[in-house]
Amino acid sequence: MSTAPTSPGPARAPVYALVGNPNCGKSTLFNALTGLKQKIGNYPGVTVEKKIGTAYSQHGHALTIIDLPGAYSLAARSPDEAVLRDVLLGRRTDTPMPDRIVCIADATNLERNLYLIHQILDLGRPVILVLNMMDVAAQTGLVVRAARLEKELGIPVIPCEAINGKGLVELKLAMSRHDLPLSRHSWEIPAPIAPAVSELAASLVDNDQRGPLIARAEALLLLTDQDTVRVAGSRPLSARTTEILRSWEKRWQGQGTDWAGALVNSRYDAITELCTHVIERSAVKTGASVSDRIDAVVTHPLWGWLVLGGVMAALFLSIFTLAQVPMDWIGDHTAALATWVKHTMPAGDLRDLVTDGAIGGVGSVITFLPQILILFFFIGLLESTGYMARAAFIMDRLMSRVGLNGKSFIPMLSSYACAIPGIMATRTIEDTKDRLVTILVAPLMSCSARLPVYLLLIAALFPSAAVPVGAKVAIMLTMYALGTAGALFFAWLFKRTLLKGEPPLMIMELPPYRLPKMRDVALHMLERAWLFMKRAGTIILGISIILWFLTAYPKAPAGSTDSQQIAQSFAGMAGHALEPVIKPLGFDWQIGIGLISSFAAREVFVSSMGVIFNAESSEENTAPLRDALLAAKWPDGRALFTPLVCITLMVFYVFAMQCMSTIAVVKRETNSWRWPLFQTVYMTGTAWLVCLIIYQTGRALGF
């Protein structure tokens, strides 16, 4: 006998799905229920996070909990919402259909929160409703009568304050029940639509193997969900059901019936009716809320910009000051480890592979970590307080000029520190095309790894101490401006050509400000860092070893210097092979080696130049290397690093895609090699073209 969904057998832990609107406190509740017993991954084929945790019932039985993405409706507009819909409808092959559903509603905003929950009640699964933030509701003068709602809906309704852990025991008790009732709430489907719902539901049962209750829910959904968002891994509808749907739509269009609107309206009518029994507003309404008063400053035409500027300045300051300490520590220790291995292992290829390939590769993965942690800490903080939505609100007008919306702002800005967290932060962008455009242009923002390269080249450009600092700063700022302009230009171009789509919507909730829960922010930060290590780590390690191999082989005769070794290695050969391509830009094969080695990370250019030109130099003192660069000559005796070449090379670094970590992350975030390859080609191609124009124009003008 197969087990009924309401009473799962003892062999398998019952699967609960956690569902709710964004900002309803779902993550806090998930963390509180599962502690650290969480597994984070991806739904195969889509970049939507899959979070599964284990909680224990009051009787100590294990319960599996799937934390589904936050959404406002089952009618999907984004990959996140499509995954929610498909998991709940049992359309996904990779995730079991949940046995039971825990819905979370923000009690301060019950009407809108109930819309999604109302759709879920139709599914015919046992539902537990959690009314979260009851304390905040009480403060704002709302009395939400949970007992009355329980009576109206016929399902357990649990008042809760997830942030203080109140109501958790009651929730776990309800989750431990064997006999969870189905909702007995019924609502009226508008008359012109009812026959279509019946016909579609019947077809779903006959042709798509759905259970009768879920078929009706899916039939209702098909009428409001244009099914425009399809994601990999979900089963398509049968041809017969699609045909019935199209013929009804055609009929309604002919009659001028607004079927989707009518459905939404009648659902809201039912919800409003429910709420009149459940919510009591205490008579006194004391003017503007705290959130409104904060917003009066934060979104003010003048103060708003200052606050935004201040927040961003604090973010960058902490990255540049705080991240430096652990980054140096990691650098020192990986170097110390390599030295130790050098002394303990017998000399040979294996030793070099371990020290220069593996340890170097792992080192370049983890030196990014401090920056990534700090950035994600800030992003988590901005999200959980509610400021993130305000930043998007303020910046939307500017971003709309290039065809994006305000949500692309934070990922692009984060990319000034490092493109990796920037690209990972694009998951908040709902529209797939907008997200892809943001990913494609983010690495054009000058990241912190370009800084050492700019500094070295500016030093070579102005060797004399007489040059005012202002001139150096101006050159630096020009490079940053160039990168930003490039990013905006390409965003504009891609939105008009390659990834043409509807203008993005800016229909977004501005959630009330809340004090962040540090535990959730910290968990979020660690999750992200772990994802980066797991996803990009192996690719970066692999490429590091390949790069090491290219510079270490073939071996030069014994007694050669490092610079002789690199000159005759595969990398040296590649540099020579590259020379005809980069000569029109004023670069020789030695710079070519630098460009190739930059794939490990752009700042590696500085150390490669040190090896190639035999100059001892450190981060603090670039003078010896600067002088070595200035002494470098073409075979015919012309100076190699002329001012024009320094400028051209800096511009090359602004535009070229030279970071394997970014490539690895883009591959993971877009689920294919197509986009990172395209990105590498378009960015490096642009770099070449722009540099060609600058160098040749400069030459023609006599520089």
């Binding site: 009407e111 809108r112 989707a260 917003d295 939307d396 709309s400 229909i507």
Partner: protein
């Protein structure tokens, strides 16, 4: 006779009842699902520093939408109570 204006031309701080609404389009279906329906009262809270998007209060929460969408939503202003 009922006087309706575009939501985008509503004065800041003023409230109005939504009257007419485009039937098609992703934006408008989403707005409906977010609870902005014919008959719903909305209040224009503010515009973003650069004049777009708008922030409205609806069913007790705050929602943003662009002017291009607000232009298609017709509302009937509620006279401020004396």
């Amino acid at each position: 006779m009922v006087e309706t204006i575009k939501l985008s031309t509503l004065a800041i701080g003023a409230s109005a009842v939504v009257r007419e609404y485009p039937k098609q389009g992703n934006a408008f279906l989403r707005l409906r699902e977010m609870g902005v329906l014919p008959g719903t009262t909305v209040t224009l809270i503010r515009t973003a520093p650069m004049g777009d998007p708008l922030e409205i209060k609806v069913r007790g929460y705050n929602l943003t939408l662009r002017k291009t969408e607000a232009e298609h939503v017709l509302v009937e202003p509620i006279a401020p109570r004396a």
